[in-house]
Amino acid sequence: MRSDELPAGTPHLGQQRAIDAIRFGIEVERPGYNVYVLGPLGSHRHGLVRELVDERASRKGPPEDWCYVNNFSDPERPRALAFPAGQGREFRDDMHALIEDMRVAIPAAFESDDYRNQMRAIEEETEKEVEAQWKSLEAEAAREGIGVLQTPTGYVLAPIREGKVIDDKEFEKLPKKEQRQIQVHIKRLSEALQARIESMPRLQKLHRERVKALDQRIIAHAVTVLLDELKQKYKTLDKVTAYLDEAQQNIIDNAQDFQQPKTSPLPFLSRDSSQLFTQYEVNLLTHNGEGQGAPVVYEPNPNYPNIIGKIEHRAEMGALVTDFRMIRSGALLQANGGYLVLDIYRVLSRPFVWDALKQALLNRYIRIETPGESYGFVSTTSLKPEPIPLKVKIILIGERWLYYLLSMYDHEFDELFNVAADLDDEIERSRENVQSYSQLVADRARTGELLPLSESGVRRVIEQAARNAGDSERLSMHIRSLDDLLIQSDHWARKRGSKVIERQDVASAISKREHRLDRSRNKVLEAIDRDVLLIETAGARVGQVNGLSIIDLGEFRYGHPMRITATTRMGTGDVVDIEREVELGGAIHSKGVLILSSALTSRYARETPLSIHASIVFEQSYGGVEGDSASVGELCALISSISGIPVLQNLAVTGSINQLGRVQVVGGINEKIEGFYDVCRSRGLDGTHGVVIPRDNIKHLMLREDVVEAVRDDKFAVYGVRDVDEAVTILTGVEADIVNAKVEDQLVRYATLRKEFSEKQEGDEQE
């Protein structure tokens, strides 16, 4: 059946456990029930999470809207206001409209006839008081024949006669008594004048107070009506009405600031009264429409400001300034009341984010501040916005190793993320699952608007899924690899003008992809062909075995035949792993060699001391060896060396052994077989070539089509072995009993020789 004829499949095939875990995590509304989704890249984990979270979020009501407003008593600590969903935006718009109204109403109030009349009355009252003081002084002075002359900066008291100030000559002509009297009067009047001048600031203060009271009355009248409407509208929100009360009081208290002075001595320093209104604006941080569900936020770049938020600054007269309007929310606040999806790798690779995220979850509130302030590095004053209660469900998506690493080393991690959703990498290749996988293939082709696949095309895709799983009985659930294969198959199908993706198109996609990536593999094959890398594929050699290793380049891996050699002689029972000696062998490889040493001693000449010295090496290996998959090959090389029975070079071997000689499974079996097959094929397959593998690996075989064909045509063989004896028999072409007997004999001979050698040495020493 073609893929476009298949019914829609089960979404997220094989991921029921992970789906249940995610659902559980997002449904439990308790602190700490955040979710970590474990799965490799390309496993469609984002799509799965998004689908489940969206479904849950749509059934929840929208959370509160949050705003920051000015804190009039402490502007450095802006106040946070919460509103039912949708009302935050409404409040912002209402306050904006209020400001616009005030921009008109306040200047109009100050220019009204009522204000002018009252102002004139105050000025007249003050003038009268001042004038009364001056008049009384001038009258008193006039009675004494003294005039009060005004200069640009003050007053001068001088004697007046016949309406004119007298000069020094006229003064000299006056009788001495009168001269003294004039001076006495002037002195006394000067003191009175000084007293009046000193009382002027008090009068001026009184005047200012009267003007201020008038301004406040006028502005209160202008804004009270406007604010009362808002207070009525938001009367159920206590914090909001308290804020409106404070705003009203602040407007009234600062009434005089709203009067723009006509001129300023330093215009660039003068404050534009229109700017005063901005302090009543509303900084809307989150808003949610009525009828919409809880927010679901995915932050692709989870750096500190994007997660926690930030406080912006603007340059003003060479200094950086800020206020509540420049507070910006981060993803945490945007997702408050809903769900925040983050890639853990990205979170951990951005400075300060992980700590800040945990702090917010532990404290259950979000405090918007810079990392510098959070860590106490900054001493300059900035804003300290009121923390906002946090109720968010975080879904981290990441690889398994990160989960286990965090679990082990971060003691807060388990407390905060106690739901793990582990995505399966593969599913069983059962009849039902193959059917479901076919439907998945059909779904992905439909979703990606690709050509439909023929039945054989689908089968080939399923084979590749098994190959990717490295197991003929399993199917890989790596969705990105599936999508890539389908897209590339579509390309090759269209290229040849087909309306359907056939098996050959899928095969083309696989081989072309390999071709794009196999430069390194070709170099290795070329080196083997040119005898730069020495691999024999014919004849037989003592102590020399063709082993199989894997080169993993991430996107591509291939098998690399390696020559393993062993040498032996009489000794004291030590087996030297040359790789380990030069620190090119990894820990697991060294363990494998120790196990094979143990296997050797447990199998042969158990009642005589092991009297050999053996050394094992991977020839022409310069980059280090890891893993124990060569231990069967190493033991066979050792057995061959001890027994003197040669190993067939047309065969290669892989597998690990235990101390009892049992052959155990290894990874990358397909690539290893194909690696040796490629070498043999390039030299010409003659029907004798083959590989010896653990029997338990047979189920993992998903070989390339050309290898399968060669095996079918008896040009190449794959032998599954259960224990070392079977491997030895195949590799040497000699029955294991015979080989083992030879090994036994040789080990006994070494022991005898060693004993004789020791006795002779002791005799020589005694003499």
Binding site: G147, L149, P152, G154, V156, L157, A158, L193, I197
Partner: protein
């Protein structure tokens, strides 16, 4: 040809306390629509100098009430500052009106010079109402010269 269209010489007389803006406004009304030669004469009185000649006279500051000797040098200084301030004020007004203006400073006691400057070729003399009884103006009023006295916010006292 009407009087407003003739080229005129308009003289403004000022004292230390004259309402400059009002006098200027009256002058502008007088020369409205015609070209005019404008002269401003600052007639300062001798009161400051006379008071400064006395050995005991002190000036009391209007900001704070502190006092200091009021000397002839201080009187000269005040007169110069007042004249400069008036001249600046007048020149700004003239700039705005696009007119050129001559500025003269004379003591009110110099009657001969004052009378000559005020009356020579003048079409109109505009002065503050406080000068209405000043001997020079009493004398000028007896001539054909058109004289306008201006009180603060009252420019029609011809």
């Amino acid at each position: 040809m009407s009087r407003n269209e003739e080229s005129q010489r308009v003289v403004i007389a000022l004292t230390e306390t004259s309402p400059v803006a009002d006098l200027w406004e009256a002058a502008m009304q007088a020369i409205s629509g015609s070209s005019a030669e404008l002269t401003v004469i600052f007639l300062h009185d001798e009161r400051w100098h006379r008071a400064a000649s006395l050995p005991f006279t002190r000036e009391i500051s209007q900001s704070g009430g502190s006092s200091s000797d009021f000397t002839l040098q201080r009187a000269e200084q005040l007169l110069a500052a007042t004249a400069a301030s008036l001249q600046k004020n007048i020149e700004e007004l003239a700039d705005r009106a696009g007119l050129s203006v001559a500025f003269q400073v004379l003591p009110e006691t110099d009657r001969a010079q004052s009378r000559t400057l005020l009356s020579l070729g003048a079409s109109i003399v505009i002065g503050p109402s406080v000068l209405e009884q000043h001997p020079i103006f009493v004398e000028l009023r007896r001539t054909d010269l058109r004289i306008v006295f201006v009180a603060p916010e009252d420019r029609d006292n011809e």
